[in-house]
Symmetry: D2
Subunit: 149 residues, 4 copies
């Protein structure tokens, strides 16, 4: 898959880059946290910890995670009365911002599709301010996230 000549860098707008970045965040969340033991008592603090972790990543302005342990099916008994995080439990919304551009995307289990669906639900901005490539510039200024809660 490596071309003989170096690829010309694609002309990505900030809007383009944010769409790519939004996918990175949701794909990463899905594959990082499955399998963590969870109960109705710990679901809230686990969701907050995921929000704090995602909030460290570039371009993230807001992130909201909800975990629904009861969607994991019937509980075991006694010492087995807890669950492991499965896709059905996860509900995530991320908002990414770069300049005047905003992308909002979410992850939600769709029972009708039997699938954890990731979707872009909002795109705003002119897309101006072209960059040579996504994430290729390490900006010295600090990102200032305003976390979702």
């Amino acid at each position: 898959m490596t071309p003989a000549r170096p690829l010309r860098e694609p002309r990505l707008s900030r809007r383009d880059s944010l769409l790519f970045e939004a996918g990175i965040k949701l794909g990463g969340i899905f594959h990082q946290y499955l399998g963590i033991p969870v109960s109705s008592r710990t679901a809230g603090s686990l969701a907050r910890a995921i929000e704090a972790a995602v909030g460290l990543q570039p371009f993230v302005r807001r992130v909201a995670v909800r975990i629904h342990p009861e969607r994991g099916g019937p509980l075991g008994r006694g010492r087995f009365a807890y669950r492991y995080l499965v896709p059905e439990m996860l509900e995530v919304t991320v908002e990414l911002v770069d300049g005047t551009n905003t992308v909002v995307a979410n992850l939600r289990h769709r029972p009708d599709l039997r699938y954890p669906l990731m979707k872009v639900v909002q795109v705003q901005g002119s897309g101006l301010g072209r960059r040579r490539s996504s994430r290729s510039t390490a900006l010295p200024r600090r990102r200032r996230p305003t976390r979702a809660r």
Copy 2:
């Protein structure tokens, strides 16, 4: 973060959706496989298994994974002479296709940034064929991936 009124679905082109999907794939790979025991002997078959897994996902036409165990730093001795997969070892390229649109993106550790950088390296196509939202339609036709090797 849930707006009072349902969001109007954004007008995403196929090109837009592929950018989002490319991020999903790379973000997922990064967060799924870190920590797997690996050595120079097993790196190739692990890379093939990751390619086969990613190849199942929507829109993926090609995926190439290389694992460089020697980038994991000095080895332990005797029974500790193997490593766990760390970001420095991973080199991934994915090519996604939807109709006449193509997006190629890669994941590569950048020692100068001390960071596993994900980048869109190629975008092709008119972006025509607008869809109401990414991944929202379960197409009955089968995806026919031609795997990278």
Copy 3:
């Protein structure tokens, strides 16, 4: 590896089972959380979330997790100024109890071995109260964990 005749269940003491269970907890922690974005600001709450999750598992009386982000090597700049959880950062102690038996084990990165070492550091109890097999009985009584902090 499946024998032709069913195996006679081994005679495991409660002490034996706790040693097995202690390994399950530490092995699981190591392989679940690597790759999570972390900084000095979020390390504490992530450690608490891991403790809460592990505390749900059978036989766990106490669990203490410390995350040392600064052990992840030099930071990137700007938007890359955070780290992903790597083995070097993790320091975990678990205490498991079953009846009068106690096992304490920990996970600690050993720079001299270049290896995340898991060790049993304390074993107490007679080992009496033989069980036919580890974890094979779903006890109706509730485990009452007293969490580490």
Copy 4:
């Protein structure tokens, strides 16, 4: 949880250490691989990759992994017609050896308990050859695993 005085190292036999190590392997497998995309076509090669990875770890003589994608519930349609690895799909047996001591343990989903049960199914050996602590000695000799298939 850190005692004021250093703990006296517990007197663990090789048998004790193997029980602990068997738990490490199974706990690690459970928490490492959940979420990987899998289908009936890729299940076999993924199982082989997991076996190769676990086979690198100390004391492992044999490891057999079976993945049953069909236990993941009904499939989605079209581009969603694949699954993510869930606990129900996993069936693992590990055999660990140290000197004349052997421990065999397995991981199997128990529908009756609604739980992925890990069990020691065989213990052999005198337990002689006491070691000061598990995994604390980096043996210079190479482990020679004979893989399960």
